[in-house]
Symmetry: D2
Subunit: 383 residues, 4 copies
């Protein structure tokens, strides 16, 4: 009945249902002295927000975050950060016919089977609305990692059969946010948009995928055997609603490569450190980061909420019934999932960095506003 | 930097500072189908509330709880319960002189030493105000346990050198809430009150203790070796602010008892089950509950906030300075700690019961209001 | 520095290095009363054992398990099961040249970077030898799940570009163990074997994949949001050494499916329960099991230990050097990984079943040999 | 069914029964580069060993530890340390009459009630023999902390009504190991010994207590609110078999002190740091260490195994029966518990130090024997 926590030292705890009063997330374990205010979090929430374009749900949520604790005069204090995002535009009425008749391929049946009840408005706790909490927590992690020189970027690399050619990290930084699809290859983005609109018109939806890449993740992260870097990142990505596959490095294609072709010799880098020639290993060897960029892909199935006529059964009446899911829904998931993938990467990385003692408190600003309460901040022997 | 979580399956996560915007607590792992509304929680919060009497702080907090998620039409859904209690009467001004000059025997210095900063208003995160979250979570646990026939009761059994004679469980139920001291022995309560008032007049404060006892805790709870029942209960009690000792059964006096005098023979009870003759073991043998009442004591030191003149040093200026803690403070802690002790008992017990599979979902009401989404609720093979 | 634990209630803890004295695994949380002896565990270890055929390493390990605790007269007692498997055929000598010169694409560099040292014999802690512990723990989980009617089966479905056609669960049960490749499609198995032998002769190695499927997993398992079933299974699979991808249901292909084509209507099954028409969802909806078979694929890259000449650098001498990994190695990983995948599935499933209160202690035999110490075993109110 | 793990980053996992094949303990999370061999562990085990004197059980256990993994050429590698201690002198025969007739005040009944079965030889998993694992793990923690300048010492301060006067830390270091009672006050030790021998002759046993104190624990340890230093230390101490009370600082007596008398002003110490005048707070303020010595007391009840005639009931036959516990038993627990208390202190402190990032890897020796595999050991940016 649990499952509402993520992270071992950077601990995220969430609550909230799609049509409940509010979503909430507590971040415990954030280092003290980090400059942080609601605008930092809001900027990320706005990227995930519904109603951004014609290809997202029209639900009108401001997604305004309130930070209830854990900061003082704009700096974190090391104590838990409590955030609340109120739900403002919930309209549960149209879900009434399906209280005891599960929508096709949703979590309605499994939630009812698991708990013997469920919050049915808008999908309740099973709704992807939950990811607003993840993005809020990820925004805090991002701020910590920025101070450490870690960057993360993702873009939509495939929608249906429209696949983008490989792009650089710089392309992603520059172009991913320029279009509604969040594809860093502008021409492909246009084709994707056309495709999505066609499915939308047909009352259908379509699957897709996201490619992600990192910069600046230090070598040595990951705790084999069970908490290797790919194991924990895999958990993070497969927890995102509607994902069906996670790959890193050569991913699924690795099955067709020989050892000789995949293996990478070692050479010295400019600083005289051993470094692999190439990065087919995707930044991870032996379950631990090498310091090279980490990259991979995550796959989403098509949204299950579609206005086409489908069939369900009502366990109360024992009868078949037609169903047309009429709510306000996205015809495709990856465009709004880009900030979610980035958030889960930030959360996974910051947690490993804290576990490895690699977050340098001195890189936090350390001020606490007008009233500075510093006592021998992090002097040797004191930290 | 963590430490804001309690419980393994009944998972409590908290945030909040004494003078922050709000206190917050998330309860994850509460069984579905439990009847629960804000009044259930409020009733317990009101017992802990400041300003109840002349011997508590005059801070005017309504301590009104809002449940943001996890219930539907008055029943829990099995998903996390998010609660928020706004802080309404915070006045930080009088703490300004002590931002860099620690109050005697408070956590000011240690928080600053640990985090390199601290929220100083009203003691920030170190304030006993945090226990409002614990009582809110405990109120939920209490509801679960009521359905299982588990009862918990505590009363103040000593203030300074005024000690109450032994009282029965029924005495505690009947009399503990009748007086401001929460002592179940009325004559002793009066003496305690006199004593407290005298110290209060002198600008001083005084220590004390609480006796607790349970009814209906099933045998078999506790997970030795490291998570024995007394180990986890000890953690719970020693986490309460200002506690300095935890005992159960014969407690500290056990050191003077011989094995022959303390050992208890076995006999059969009315149902033909082996049962110990007597309960000097305090309901726990081998770290596991026997089914007998669990009882013990917890000690509090005197409140450290006193209006008497004391001396501190300012680490900013390097100078000594006088300090008189002028805030609004309790002259004694146990009276308001009674609901906190009970909450921690409920939280500890419910967690062990869930771990042992002993919470019977069928004893939860299982309804979900007007729209009942039940699917084969907890039928065998389905649960 | 941790990462040696798996499972929340069925808790597995491991130790051991490839060339250390022994491998060890502790299983805490196994229900009492399960019939279990060393033969049960040995049977699974023998499937994973080196030296089974020409396409596995020739290292001669008997992999004999000793159960040091947790059972009595052939039945579990509910207390931790400690198992030790001695290493008998470690020959570290040939690893000496590479102590400070990392083997290409192994974990040598990352382990040294993480810990500032490493056990280098045979890959030390980074070796896939660790999975002997997983298979031992999985054998215990399998016994628990057999009593619950849960079955798991895996086979090798691709080696290089040789891909097996879809097979049934029954095919896997019948044919997977018949050939050295553990492919349930005999003709494909032969082609795979040829391919592997060719790479082996060339001093090369090759990647591959495993398909898995379940029977009898009850609906309602999985703890969204962060501990959804695919999230925890993904973690389990991505923790297996050399995996680069995890998929379930339509997996990576889901990106090309429309909602209409993928969505599944509901119908009533023979018992009158709602059941999805089809299983493109792979047994999981909303992160929770539906009761349908769970299936998916895991990809392995080619073994990195190959006898071909490669180049490395020595961080001690600062010089480049040739490297030819001459140890005893597998030319392909999936054949010996089949029992590992099954073990991780068993461990993941049993953990969720315990969390959901779905392991019925009455299905355990409950006897404890000659001296039966049963006390009111698991009577209502007693459990 | 769990409870066999201790520590969050310095993770201890144990198994074993009193009369099983072996006891075992895995330590995961020990820093790499620590000089450690079996002698270090053996030295501590020998202090706890049975058969040391006339006032301990005569069971003849060599308690020889084997380290199976996690070290190389005498240094830790950062990977888990697996230790096994074989049981050599188990004689279960005399426990046969009590398989279904619980010994008075032991864990026989509660274990059977919890698990529906139990390992009955010598008390099985409920035996204090388990603490051999704790002392082994504590020996590793002690080595880590020695490098950090942390010291811990305990002695027996009361047996029955014989109480030792206060002793200094230096007294404990010098005198505690000089006598069989492990009391640092020689004259009191003699009186205690007399008392114990008298009870032993009478076929009885007696309770007692241990006083502990630390040196060099840095300020800032402890993670309020739920994982405050006293909360976690309380858990550790109350997990020790047969303990009934835990106190720190003024302990139980704090209830009689006024705030004015207990509060401590602040002054500057020699280095110009604020420091409390006095240490009535026992080294902990606000749940966090102040840097002052931590001290407290733990109480044990009398051993329950006594040769005097007692009465029990047999749940198999339904009859009363006489019981005389004839095994080999200690007449008093604290003397052999001194190394256990020290071990639990070390384990608690090292865990908090790792959580606070306060274990300096550079103070570990960092060598790894003949083959030094160091790679840029813990250089800035690499750790």
């Amino acid at each position: 009945m649990n499952g509402n926590r993520f992270g071992r030292l950077f601990q995220v705890t969430t609550y909230g249902e799609s049509h409940g009063d509010a979503m909430g997330v507590t971040v415990s374990g954030c280092p003290a002295g980090l400059e942080l205010d609601e605008d930092d979090v809001q900027a990320e929430l706005d990227r995930r927000k519904p109603g951004q374009s014609m290809i997202t749900t029209s639900r009108g949520e401001p997604d305004a975050v309130a930070i209830n604790s854990g900061t003082q005069d704009g700096y974190t204090t090391g104590t838990p950060i409590g955030m609340v995002i109120e739900n403002k535009d919930a309209r549960s009425g149209k879900y009434e016919p399906y209280v005891t008749a599960p929508r096709p391929s949703h979590g309605d049946f499994t939630y009812s089977a698991k708990f013997g009840t469920r919050n049915w408005g808008g999908g309740g706790r099973s709704s992807a609305r939950e990811t607003v909490n993840w993005v809020a927590a990820g925004a805090v992690a991002k701020k910590v990692l920025e101070a450490e020189g870690v960057e993360v970027k993702a873009h939509v690399n495939q929608i249906g059969d429209v696949e983008a050619p490989p792009v650089t990290f710089e392309d992603m930084v520059e172009h991913a946010e320029e279009n509604e699809v969040r594809c860093a290859h502008p021409e492909t983005a246009e084709k994707m948009l056309e495709k999505i609109e066609r499915y939308q018109e047909e009352g259908d939806s379509i699957g897709g995928s996201i490619y992600f890449e990192t910069r600046g993740v230090p070598r040595g992260l990951g705790a084999p055997r069970f908490d290797s870097f790919p194991a924990r990142l895999g958990q993070a990505m497969m927890a995102i609603p509607a994902t069906t596959g996670f790959e890193f490095g050569l991913g699924r294609e690795a099955r067709e490569w020989t050892g000789k072709d995949r293996n990478e010799d070692w050479e010295f880098d400019e600083e005289g450190d051993p470094t692999p020639v190439g990065n087919k290993h995707g930044g991870i060897q032996g379950g631990i980061t090498t310091g090279q960029p980490i990259f991979g892909e995550v796959t989403w199935h098509a949204p299950t909420s579609i206005p086409k006529a489908q069939t369900t059964v009502d366990w109360e009446t024992g009868e078949e019934k037609d169903i047309q899911v009429v709510g306000r829904h996205d015809p495709v998931l990856p465009p709004r999932a880009v900030p979610v993938v980035e958030a889960m990467l930030y959360l996974t990385i910051v947690d490993f960095m804290l576990l490895g003692g690699r977050v340098n408190p001195d890189r936090m600003d350390g001020k606490a506003g007008e009233y500075d309460t510093d006592y021998h901040p992090r002097s040797p022997g004191n930290e």
